[in-house]
C-alpha cells in the first residue's frame, strides 16, 4: 500500500545540506496500522507531510496505494487543522464536496461521522467554541468521512489531556478496525504505539533513519481491555528498550 525506498527529504536552502529526513525505507500493507516512533525533532512531521503528499520534493521512491496518485489520503495533525471559519459541520462538508458529493449527500455523511464521534450536538459550533478534545474529534471525523485509502495521524493526541486521550485512542482503534483502513501514526507515546499498531517502526534522531521494526503481537480485533492485559506492560517496555538502545548509542 505504501512503499518507501531510500526516502530522503532536504529543505531547500539548508546551508549544510544535511537532509531533514532519511534515507528511510519501509512498507505498509493494506489495512495495516503502523506507528512511527522516535525522538523529538527527528523529522516525523516531515515524513508525515511527505507521505501525505504535501512535500513533493524528495529523493528515493515513494509508492502510495494500488490506486496510484489518486489514492485518497486524510491527515489529522496535532494542531487539529480544523478551519476556524467553518462550523464543525462545514469543516466536514468541505472535503466531501471537493470529492464530488452533492450538497445533500455531504451534509448527511458529515452528520453521520459527527454522530460516530459523538459531537453531532455541536455541528453548528465554531472551533473556538469547542475544547481541544472536541476539535480533534472534528478533525478525525473529517479525515474519516472521505473514506480515505490511507489515514495519516501526526501526534494527534499530544495536546489532549490523559483521560480524553484514552477515549480518543479507543475510538480510533474501533474505527480503524471497522474500516480496515491503512493507518500511519506518528507518536511519542510507547503505550499508544503498542495499543494501536500492528508494527512499530523506530526512527533515529534527525535526520531520521529506521533502526528497528517491531511487530506488536496482539491479534485483532482488539479492545481497550488490552491496556490492562498482563503482558501489555512488558511489550511497552521492550519497545522502550529498543528505542533507548537505538538512540542512546553512537549513531
Amino acid at each position: 500500500m505504501i512503499d518507501a525506498r531510500g526516502l530522503t527529504v532536504s529543505y531547500n536552502g539548508a546551508r549544510d545540506n544535511t537532509p531533514a529526513l532519511g534515507p528511510v525505507t519501509f512498507s505498509v500493507a493494506r489495512g495495516e496500522f503502523v506507528s512511527f516512533i522516535g525522538p523529538s525533532g527527528c523529522g516525523k512531521t516531515t515524513l508525515a507531510r511527505t507521505v501525505a503528499g504535501i512535500i513533493t520534493e524528495f529523493d528515493g521512491t515513494l509508492a502510495i496505494g494500488d490506486a496510484g496518485p489518486s489514492a485518497v489520503v486524510s491527515t489529522v495533525f496535532q494542531d487539529y487543522g480544523v478551519f476556524p471559519w467553518k462550523t464543525a459541520l462545514q469543516n466536514l462538508e468541505f472535503p466531501l464536496r471537493e470529492r464530488g458529493h452533492s450538497k445533500e449527500e455531504a451534509r448527511a455523511i458529515a452528520h453521520e461521522w459527527l454522530t460516530k464521534l459523538r459531537i453531532d450536538n455541536f455541528a453548528d459550533f465554531y472551533p473556538h467554541q469547542l475544547s481541544g478534545g472536541m476539535k480533534q474529534r472534528v478533525s478525525i471525523a473529517r479525515a474519516l468521512s472521505v473514506q480515505p485509502d490511507i489515514l495519516i495521524l501526526d501526534e494527534p493526541f499530544a495536546s489532549i489531556d490523559a483521560q480524553l486521550r484514552e477515549d480518543l485512542q479507543d475510538e480510533l482503534m474501533a474505527l480503524q478496525q471497522e474500516t480496515a483502513m491503512t493507518t500511519i501514526l506518528f507518536t511519542h507515546s510507547y503505550d499508544e504505539a503498542v495499543l494501536l499498531s500492528d508494527q512499530v517502526i523506530v526512527l533515529t534522531a534527525r535526520p531520521a533513519t529506521v533502526i528497528d521494526t517491531i511487530e506488536i503481537p496482539y491479534p485483532r480485533p482488539r479492545t481497550n481491555a488490552l491496556r490492562t492485559d498482563a503482558t501489555f506492560g512488558s511489550v511497552v517496555n521492550s519497545l522502550r528498550t529498543a528505542i533507548r538502545g537505538g538512540n542512546d548509542g553512537p549513531r
Binding site: 507531510r49 501525505a52 503528499g53 504535501i54 489520503v73 486524510s74 491527515t75 495533525f77 494542531d79 487543522g81 478551519f83 476556524p84 471559519w85 467553518k86 468541505f94 472535503p95 471537493e98 470529492r99 455541536f122 459550533f125 465554531y126 472551533p127 473556538h128 467554541q129 469547542l130 475544547s131 478534545g133 472536541m134 472521505v146
Partner: protein
Amino acid sequence: MARAKFTSTSLVARLRKLGLGLIVPAILLGWWEIAAGAGAINTFFFPAPSHIVVNGVTHLLDGSLTADISATLLRVFSGIAIGGSTGYLAGLFTGTSALIRALFEPFFSAFYTIPKIAILPVFIFLFGLGESPVIAIISITVFFYVWVYTFGAVRGIDSSYLDVARTYSASRWAILRHVIIPATLPQVFTGLRVAVAVGTLITITTEIVIGDSGLGFVIFHSRMIMRIEDSYVGIFAVSILGFTLQRLVVRIGRWATPWVNAESNVPTREFR
C-alpha cells in the same frame, strides 16, 4: 458566541463600555463650555460647544449641512467602493501569485508611502477639474491601505490550513474560496477600518484644497469668511462621521466573520 451577547450581564457591560467612552469627550467639552461661558477664552475663535451644536442643528434644518455631509459621504463611499474592491483583488493576486508579487509588490510598496495629497496636481492634470480627481485620490488612498492589509493577511496564512486543503485535493478555486478568503477576512476588515478613517481624512483634505462642497470645504471656507462657529460645525460633523463609519465597518466585519471572538470582554462559554 452571538447568542450570549443578549444576556443581561452583557447588556450592562455594553452600556458600561459606552458610558466609559463618553467620559473623556464629556470632560473636555465641559471645560470648554465653562471656559467660554466665564469669558476665559475668546469665544470668537473658540465658541462654546453648545453654541456650535445649536448652529449645527440650524444648518441641518435649513439643509445646507445635510448637503455638505452627503457630498462628503458620496466621495468617501465612491473611494471605498473603487479603492476597496481593487485593493482587495490586488492583495489576493499579489498574495497568491509569486509572479504578480514580484512584478507589483515593490512598486506598490514604494507608492504606498507617497502622501497622496502631494500628487493631487497630477490627478487634476490627468482627470481635469470636478469630482474625478477627488474620487481618484480617495480611491488610490483606500486602495493602498486595503492592499497592504490583504496582502499581509494572505502571506501570513497558517500554512497548515493550506496543507489540509491540499491533502483533500481541493482545487485552486476551492482553496481560494474556502481557505484564503475566509482566513484573511478578519485582517481585511481591520484594513478596511483604517482605510475608512484615512479615506475620510483625505476626502476632507482634498475638499479643503480644491473643493466647492463637502465638510472640508465648510471647515475651510467658513474660516475664510470669519464664520468660525460654522467651521467648528464642520469639524464636529467630520469626527462624528468618521466615528460612525468606522463603527459601521466594525459591525459589518463582525457580522461577516462570526467565528472571530471580537468582543473579548463578552464572556463566551466554552463547551467541553
